[in-house]
């Protein structure tokens, strides 16, 4: 009974995505015909051809991969040592630092759009991959530090001290004891951050136009100027979410495990 309910809820949540994928294989006419045709329509790939022909999907997808991957890697490199020291060698201000970091996420990004835009223009960072990586990395850093901090907190201090008593230097303690124990946490943080960076639209839309533009800009270009072409927009959107959907599909176990870490113990 509950399994059936879960399937129903799951289907309801998934339906818009399914509908979008179906629409991407329809002709424009069928895409907004009423009553809508569900499966029995003329399947076609013409939307995908048009989309690739009109705007370079590969170019945007590569940008998305670079921006999401790059910002995540840099964020992890900064956040792992930061979270480590906060979890295992906290000072009096550690709690305040963490709250301060989180508070930056409470501010609406649009509040700093103008200053950041002007800074970017001055330093020539507009429409560059480096600029996007920088802003997404800094934007997601608080979440990454928080997530890693909570995972590291779960590792008993005794075990690290035991390693020290066993003659392990700090480096070896990290490699042989801490990292293997924190792998689920690090992996799920990494995945979540890639997804967040991939989906991020506000900064990418405002700070890039063509050279560095990731898939968000690619989709946005299908919205208003030519009126709404549902089938083509669907095809573009399907292409945009496809890589992340595949990544999510393969890593769902790891993600769920990471997100419920500690809660189920």
């Amino acid at each position: 009974m509950s399994t059936a309910a879960a399937w129903v809820v799951g289907f309801v949540i998934f339906f818009p995505i399914l509908w979008m994928i179906l629409a991407s294989f329809k002709t424009e006419l069928e895409a907004f015909s009423i009553p809508p045709s569900f499966l029995f329509f003329h399947w076609t790939l013409e939307n995908y051809e048009t989309v690739q022909g009109r705007s370079d999907y590969i170019h945007h997808a590569v940008n998305s991969i670079i921006v999401a991957g790059g910002s995540t890697l840099i964020a992890m490199l900064i956040a792992i040592p930061a979270a480590w020291s906060m979890a295992f060698a906290p000072s009096k201000r550690t709690k305040d630092t963490l709250l301060w970091m989180l508070s930056t996420k409470m501010m609406p990004p649009v509040g700093v759009l103008v200053p950041i835009y002007l800074l970017y223009r001055t330093f020539g960072l507009l429409d560059t991959l480096g600029g996007l990586i920088l802003v997404l990395c800094l934007g997601n850093l608080p979440i990454v530090v928080w997530m890693l901090f909570t995972y590291f907190k779960e590792i008993p201090k005794d075990i690290l001290e035991a390693a020290r008593m066993d003659g392990a230097t700090v480096g070896r303690e990290l490699v042989y004891v801490l990292t293997p124990m924190a792998v689920p946490g690090i992996a799920s943080t990494l995945l979540l951050n890639v997804i967040l960076a991939w989906n991020e639209a506000f900064w990418t839309l405002n700070l890039s136009t063509s050279d560095a533009a990731p898939l968000t800009v690619f989709i946005a270009s299908y919205s208003s100027p030519e009126g709404l072409f549902w089938a083509k927009l669907s095809a573009a959107s399907t292409l945009a979410i496809a890589p992340i959907l595949v990544l999510g599909w393969f890593s769902q176990r790891q993600l769920v495990r990471g997100l419920t870490f500690g809660a189920v113990k």
């Binding site: 075990i159 001290e161 035991a162 008593m165 066993d166 003659g167 392990a168 042989y176 004891v177 124990m181």
Partner: protein, 339 residues
């Protein structure tokens, strides 16, 4: 070798002083137990020796060399933690051998030593298991195996048996003692359980509020406690303390009599009182007696006396075993002129 000397060791966390100047000489091969109520600083003192905390002042010498600036990893000591602190992602073999691996020993030698340690601790069938697949007692053995395999200068034990059930605790107590005798390696053992302290130690350090109250063999502490605190802490049930006029008759501020040195009888000599509670343990009976003259006393009698709540009883102290304390709580040296 494993001779540990503490000289004026102090430790503060911020403005809060935890250890107020500890001086101690732990001889090579001896089994020393730190005992005291919770919060007395015994674990902190052990962690200072281990190098897991930095001293605020003073010196710690291991075999004559000052180690206060030597990191824990380089002090050549091994430690058994209360929580066992096993590496969850490693097998028993990996856990026991980790220290040897860090020391850079060849693989074959690690294997040989790990297997020897496992055999000593009856862990051979479990070598390939992960810690989560072991019982509490087995985990405890792995933690001990990890400590002994490195042939350290000294073992440090931080309340290692407190997570075990009572029966297992008694068994492990014996095993740890035997193992230490066999290896003849210095051991420093922290516990709040005075029975563990009395049964395992060559020497006991009684700590209270960050100060060493007394350092001596278990029997010294029992027979000649240095002060009221030690007198009350060592021995079970607790020593009876009597003040006021009765104490003054003995020329002291307070006198102490252990429950086992109070002879209870139905009609004989001594203080007369009424039994408030009688605890029958079979081998012994603990009588809690209200004596109008001196207050509530506990007496321990061998076997059954057949006394129950409300019965009248006479308590006669053994005159040679009355402890006398001055107004500072210090033990007075001379025996009383008369009793």
């Amino acid at each position: 070798m494993g001779r540990i000397t503490l000289e004026g060791v102090r430790k503060s966390f911020g403005a809060h002083a935890v250890i107020h100047g500890a001086d101690l000489e732990i001889e090579d091969g001896s089994f020393v137990v730190f005992v005291g109520p919770s919060g007395c600083g015994k674990t902190t003192l052990l962690r200072l020796i281990a190098g897991l905390e930095d001293v605020s002042d003073g010196r710690i010498l291991i075999d004559g060399a000052n180690v206060v600036d030597v990191p824990a990893a380089k002090r050549g000591l091994s430690m058994v933690f209360q929580s066992y602190a096993l590496y969850p992602h490693m097998s028993v073999r990996g856990n026991i051998g980790f220290g040897l691996k860090m020391a850079g020993l060849p693989r074959a030698e690690i294997s040989r030593k790990v297997e020897a340690a496992a055999a000593t601790l009856n862990l051979t069938p479990y070598l390939e298991r992960k810690p989560r697949e072991l019982s509490g007692g087995q985990r405890q053995r792995v933690a001990i195996g990890r400590a002994i395999v490195r042939e350290p200068k000294a073992f440090l034990f931080d309340e290692p048996l407190s997570n075990l059930d009572a029966a297992l605790r008694v068994q492990m107590r014996l095993e740890v003692t035997k193992l230490q005798r066999q290896l003849a390696t210095t051991a420093v053992y922290v516990t709040h359980d005075q029975v563990e302290a009395m049964t395992m130690a060559d020497k006991i350090v009684v700590l209270n509020a960050g100060r060493i109250e007394q350092y001596g063999s278990p029997l010294e502490l029992y027979e000649r406690p240095a002060n009221l605190f030690v007198a009350g802490f060592i021995g079970s049930p607790r020593m009876n303390f009597i003040g006021k006029a009765t104490a003054q008759r003995h020329g002291a501020e307070t006198i102490g009599i252990r429950p086992e040195h109070l002879k209870a009888s139905r009609d004989g000599e001594g203080w007369e009182g009424q039994v408030s509670v009688a605890e029958h343990l079979g081998s012994d009976t603990f009588l809690h007696v209200d004596v109008p003259e001196v207050g509530s006393l506990t007496a321990r009698s061998i076997g059954e006396l057949g006394l129950t709540t409300g019965d009248r009883v006479r308590l006669l102290p053994d005159p040679g075993r009355i402890h006398r304390f001055d107004s500072d709580g210090k033990t007075m040296s001379n025996r009383p002129p008369s009793s």
